[in-house]
Each structure stands twice: as C-alpha cells, then as structure tokens.
Subunit: 225 residues, 2 copies
C-alpha cells in the first residue's frame, strides 16, 4: 500500500505547488501541517540541508525543493502529465520555472520591502521580470496550453501571492492595463480546479508575509542608523 | 541532417558541463567561442533573458541554463543516460545539483572574495557546504555510481575551478585530510574521459577568475571608504 505525506504550510506557495500537482494527478496524500516557528523533528530529519517545507514523503522517502518534487511527481504518477512531452518544450518550461524562482520572485520581494529612494528602481526591476513572462503567456490560456501544467504550477505565485505583496508593498505591478495576458492568466488560474479548491485565504497570506516584511525593513533601518 | 552548436567559453564551468555531456553522448557539435567582453549578436538573440553562456543550439533552437541543457541532452539523445533511471534517485541528483549551484558555488565564491574579519566566517560557510557533499560521495567512485553521470557533471566545478579559487582566495578547502572522499572523487573525475580531454588550462582559469575577484574586492573597498 502506497503512502504519500506532505510536510507543508498552507500559506507558502512552494507548498501549494506540490498540493496542486498531487491533486492534478489524483494522488491521495496526508497533509502534515508544519509550524515554522517550531519546526518538527520530522521536517528536520527529512530535509536536514535546507530545513524547509515542502517535503514530500513517498513510502517514507523524503524529497525536498518544490520544482524537484514536481518532476518526481510527474515521473512517478504518469496520469495527466505536468511537463510537455517534447524535449524542447520541456526545456523551455524548466527555463521559465527557474526564471520565476531565481529572478521574478526575488525582484517582486525586493520591490515589496524596498523603501525610500530604492523603491522606484526595485519596482522597475520587478516590472522588467514580469514583462518577459507577459510575452510568454500571450495568445495562450495557460502556459501549458489548454490545461494547467508544470509551468502554470511554478508560476502560481503570480496569482494570490504577488497580489498580496503588491498590497503590502503599496505598489501596482500585475494590473490588467500593463500586463493584460498575465492578468487574465492569473484570474483563470485561480478559478481552475484543483487550484480553486486548494488556496489559502488572502488574510492568512497577508499575515504570513507581513512578519517577514517587517523583519527585513527593521534590519534595513537598523543598519542605516 | 542534425545541427548542434554550442555557444560557450572554455574557462566557464557551466559551459564545460555541456561539453562533457555532449561528449558522453557521442554527439558531434560545433563550438562557437564567445568573447564575453564583446558578446555576439547570436548570443544576445539566443539568450535574451540572461545574455549568458552556455547556449545549446539544436537545429537552430536555443536552450539556455546549463542544468536545463543537461536534461535536454539526456532526453534528446538516449544513449549513455546521464540521470539515474529511478525517479527517487533522479530527484536526489537534481536536489544536489541545485544545492551545488545555489549554495556551494556561492559559498566558495564568497570565501574567495572575502577579506579581513569576514574571511573566517565565509570560509566556514564554504566548508559546511562541502561537508554535506563529502557525505554524499562517501563509499562511491562517482556520484553516478561506477560511471560519470548528471551529478558528477554538475559537481565538476569542485575539481579544477574550486582549486583555482582556493589559490586565489589564499585558503584551503578541499584537501585530502579534511574531505578524503571528495578529494579522491575530484582526482578521479579529472582523469576520466571525456573530462580529461576537455578541460581548460589552469592558467586560463586563474586569469578568468582574477578579473572578477579584483572587481568585487574593489567594489567592497570603495563602499567602505
């Protein structure tokens, strides 16, 4: 009998990626809710290198890092493929998923926490990243074509999570005038199963990010004083 | 007729990864040597997002990012698989390759450029990263088992390149006493085909890194003055 457990926290988007993927595949799993302020020994044993959620436990074997977990899920449960089948399209999907994690998320986070004269420059960098993704989604319903795929799952942070960061950072990034295709994708994405059945409340994400933003801003303020 | 071209520079280890992979697969390719001080329009068109080498051109279709290219090569030319066949082992190989790029390389680079009171802490962080990889290679000839695989290729920077950074950073990291298994792996790796036939000269790598190190140190010095 197969056993699938997910160590995760509801407000984190890397964790949401794994939940969406498991649900697309129709894999049943047990959700082990992690308290990040008091990490469990199971998490520390399962991901001793990064000590971070999400961790997927498949028959007690741990897999960490959300994009690595997505590939594992796609290779283990073949139904409803997440990645395209063509090697070149697979490479493009992986390229953009890395871009989202390594550039886009950092740029939007940087714009959120930036204050004073750094704000305009940081917002500009975030807009530059998003403009590249706007070009990628133009003319398509989903990054994966007619269905949600690997890159939609990876890009899921651009829906609710970026919207919360815009609110907390008092800035407008992903509006319909500036990025019509990304904006429409984001609306579609949030209304598609299984995403719509498996998304944290806006209030809980606001609370989740607020702590980190205040912490970073207080560090920046104390280093200047 | 298939056409494979590689836009690259000999001293860069992400570029070396792609060359090793193509040679393991027995794929013939044309090497397009890039001058990073005066980037070609072909590079800028092929990788407009990052404007970086390596880029693989397969029948004129560009693929960028060395780890993405390795997966593409493995999926396109099936002979001599680079990744393990088992999904769990594949996930582990991908996890550690990301660790090398996102933690280990940055830690060793940080230790190289650090000066003054920051040096000891930075060297400590680099040693912590390497200690995790020492545990991974213990008892094995290669990360891939009896043959060089995806993770050996990803880890290839720990051979010649890290050794040059140790010299330029005036520090000892990967010696035989501290990390006997990694040290032995590194020696084996450099003597294995196709690596041994396709490695830049030490002098050229010293020159390649020296420029960057001096630049970073001069920035750090000017921000303190």
């Amino acid at each position: 009998m197969e056993e699938v457990k997910l160590i995760a926290t509801h407000q984190s988007f890397p964790c949401a990626r794994v939940e969406w993927a498991l649900r697309i595949k129709g894999v049943e799993y047990e959700y082990l809710k992690e308290d990040l302020a008091n990490k469990s020994s199971l998490l520390l044993q399962s991901n001793p290198v990064h000590k971070k959620v999400p961790v997927l436990l498949h028959n007690n074997k741990p897999i960490a890092e959300s994009l690595v977990i997505l590939e594992y899920i796609d290779e283990t449960w073949k139904k409803n493929p997440l990645l395209p089948l063509d090697p070149y399209e697979r490479a493009q999907a992986r390229f953009w998923a890395r871009f989202i994690d390594e550039k886009c998320v950092l740029a939007v986070w940087g714009a959120t926490v930036a204050q004073g004269e750094e704000k305009e420059k940081a917002v500009g960098a975030a807009l530059e990243s998003l403009a590249l993704l706007e070009k990628e989604i133009q003319g398509k319903k989903y990054f994966g074509g007619e269905k949600i795929g690997y890159l939609d799952i990876a890009a899921g942070c651009m829906s609710l999570w970026f919207s919360v960061l815009e609110e907390l950072g008092e800035m407008e990034l992903l509006n319909a005038e500036r990025f019509p295709s990304l904006h429409e994708w984001s609306q579609n994405f949030l209304q598609t199963s299984p995403v719509k059945d498996c998304i944290p409340s806006r209030e809980s994400v606001v609370e989740y990010f607020s702590f980190g933003i205040n912490y970073v801003r207080s560090l920046a303020a104390s280093s200047k004083s």
